[in-house]
């Protein structure tokens, strides 16, 4: 019985993990799956998409949403040079100090600074957004069931409310948001940004790019993880084979 039983138990236990992992998203339809280049064993981020996505974040999302866990220096991973990152950082002013006069002062941001958010605190953010708090985006694709697919679905899921659906003031109808009423106005509209590489500025294109960027922001070590995992697997497969052969040889004395 041993081998079969073991298989059953492992499968059952994994099933349990499934049951634990999958939690129902209430009131909203399941999000459609998108193709992401960072999926799968050999998945990596597409640097061009990340740069376009960063542009969308900077020109659109960053008006309301911070990316608290990102530093300017992290942007080098998108394929920007050190000087380019310095240039990007220098466009923002940050508060530093106190200086030797005991006073705080403003200076251009440096690569070693965290990317500053649009609001000094949550209260200021709420006041500027009809009471809604725009969430931090640096972990958003890991902090929602459905991950990257879900964020993409929200960005592209804005519709006119169906007849008879009662909307609250300052709310917008989104097909994929739980309860369908979201405080965020539709953020993307065609030709909103001008991509340097000539990619079309359609809503699906911009949404796909910015979600790629946000996926990187949430999991910047994914490329390294996938590469290392492949090596670890090769090593373990060889080791498993060697140990299995040795086990057979040694145990042949018993059987």
């Amino acid at each position: 019985m041993a081998k079969h039983a073991l298989a059953i138990l492992v499968v059952a236990a994994l099933g349990l993990t499934f049951a634990g992992g999958a939690r129902a998203q209430e009131e909203a339809p399941p999000v459609p799956h998108q193709q992401w280049p960072f999926e799968g064993v050999f998945g990596t981020y597409d640097r061009a998409a990340l740069q376009r996505g960063f542009q969308v974040y900077k020109e659109v999302c960053s008006v309301c949403h911070p990316v608290k866990h990102l530093y300017y220096r992290d942007l080098e991973e998108l394929g920007y040079s050190e000087d380019q990152v310095k240039g990007i950082a220098a466009q923002a002013q940050v508060t530093d100090g106190p200086n030797d006069q005991g006073e705080m002062f403003q200076r251009p941001a440096r690569p070693s600074d965290p990317i500053p958010g649009p609001f000094p605190n949550d209260q200021a953010a709420r006041v500027a957004n009809n009471g809604a708090l725009p969430p931090d985006l640096s972990l958003i694709t890991k902090a929602r069931e459905g991950g990257s697919d879900y964020v993409y679905a929200i960005l592209t899921g804005f519709k006119d409310a169906p007849g008879g659906f009662k909307m609250n003031p300052n709310m917008y109808y989104d097909e994929y948001f739980a309860g369908h009423q979201i405080g965020m106005p539709p953020p993307l509209s065609p030709d909103q940004v001008k991509f340097a590489d000539g990619s079309p500025s359609t809503v699906p294109q911009m949404a796909h790019d910015v979600v790629s960027f946000l996926s990187w922001a949430a999991e910047p070590t994914l490329d390294e993880r996938h590469r290392m995992g492949f090596k670890v697997f090769l090593f373990l497969i060889v080791a498993t084979g060697v140990f299995y052969a040795a086990k057979r040889k040694i145990w042949s004395r018993v059987h």
């Binding site: 019985m1 041993a2 081998k3 039983a5 073991l6 138990l9 492992v10 059952a12 236990a13 099933g15 349990l16 993990t17 049951a19 634990g20 992992g21 999958a22 939690r23 129902a24 209430e26 064993v41 608290k68 866990h69 992290d74 972990l139 890991k142 902090a143 929602r144 069931e145 991950g147 949430a218 910047p220 070590t221 390294e224 993880r225 996938h226 290392m228 995992g229 670890v232 697997f233 373990l236 497969i237 080791a239 498993t240 140990f243 299995y244 040795a246 086990k247 040694i250 145990w251 018993v254 059987h255």
Partner: protein
Amino acid sequence: MAVPPASIPASGFSRLIRWIDYRLPFVALLEHDLVEYPTPKNLTYWWNFGSLAGIFLVIMIVTGVVLAMHYTPHADLAFDSVERIMRDVNYGWLLRYIHMNGASMFFLIVYIHLFRGLYYGSYKYPRELLWILGVVILLLMIATAFMGYVLPWGQMSYWAATVITNLFSAIPLVGNKIVTLLWGGFTVGNPTLNRFFSLHYLLPFVIVAVVGLHLVALHQHGSNNPLGIDMRGPQDSIPFHPYHTIKDSFGLCVALLVFAFFVFYAPNFAASADNYIPANPMVTPNHIVPEWYLLPYYAILRSITFDFLGIPSKLLGVLLSLGSLVILFFVPWLDTSRVRSARFRPVYRWVAWILPIDVIALGYVGSQPPAGFVVTLGQIATFYYYLHFLILMPLIGKLERPRPLPISIGTAVLEASGGLGAAGPAERH
């Protein structure tokens, strides 16, 4: 203690070993317990999970100690410090994903190990204390895992801590005092996080100590085996080294392959998305769900939706949930059969398999919002869990007629391999 056998030539090195062993019999102990240690020659791969669990305990402690060097146990800083580990600490993401998924792996292995013990009657005379120490380890693991889950201070951390510590308030008279003591205040907060961190660092070393006792108890009478009969002499046993060192190494590689898949390609598979949102006492998540390995206990807890014999439903839920673990302490005496291995027990061998199915059903119930059919299923599964241990186990042992046991491990092994040994006269215990 024994000195190394005289057959070893007295080189400088072996003289040094002998000098040490005469004063501190360390090498002799290794020789006795890791090399010569006699094991039944018919152990299957089910017997790999004990050493595997030990290795994962070490993996958890090593990664945990390094993570603690970078983690900040403060309510305002804990979440960010974990993200800092993920982003800026060298291989911090690897350490954390190993530690996170290692907990799941550790529980999976221990649950298989526990089921192995149940199926083959490894808890029966003379291994009752060995079993009880195992249950103590499980309880310590659950406490450690729960407190570890609180440390990242995400939404699920915070609310799991709130829900679970609140259970103690069900205790009559002193309940609320105990909860305040656990919290270090009047709500889950920074003092709670601090004491959980302290205990999360302490308990694994208590587990190591109990594992030590578990091993001493194991080596007193040796491993049980799939036949559940005792070793009768050298013909029934093989030395631990090289047979089990190599077999356990192979098993470890297979386990690491499974583990590596999750660490490198699905590190957040068992994680809750809510725990990547910083703890917020003002916002309750839609469904508060524990990690998968605690779901069955959570299901039992929530299945009690009614007062019974004047006991309030909350207290009864807590008692039955805790009882589902405490009952394991009494298994050596609840099982009245003298035959250890379910292989020779025509009725129990099926009943033994229904239990894990029941526990998995409980796990499913624990993962779902408690409404409608799920509640009924949870109540049936809870009832069956207790039925198994309190009624079926004692009753089947009395009523069932076990099949005849082989005379010895040696003859059974020869028969199984189609070998020379003619089937000897069957013997009944």
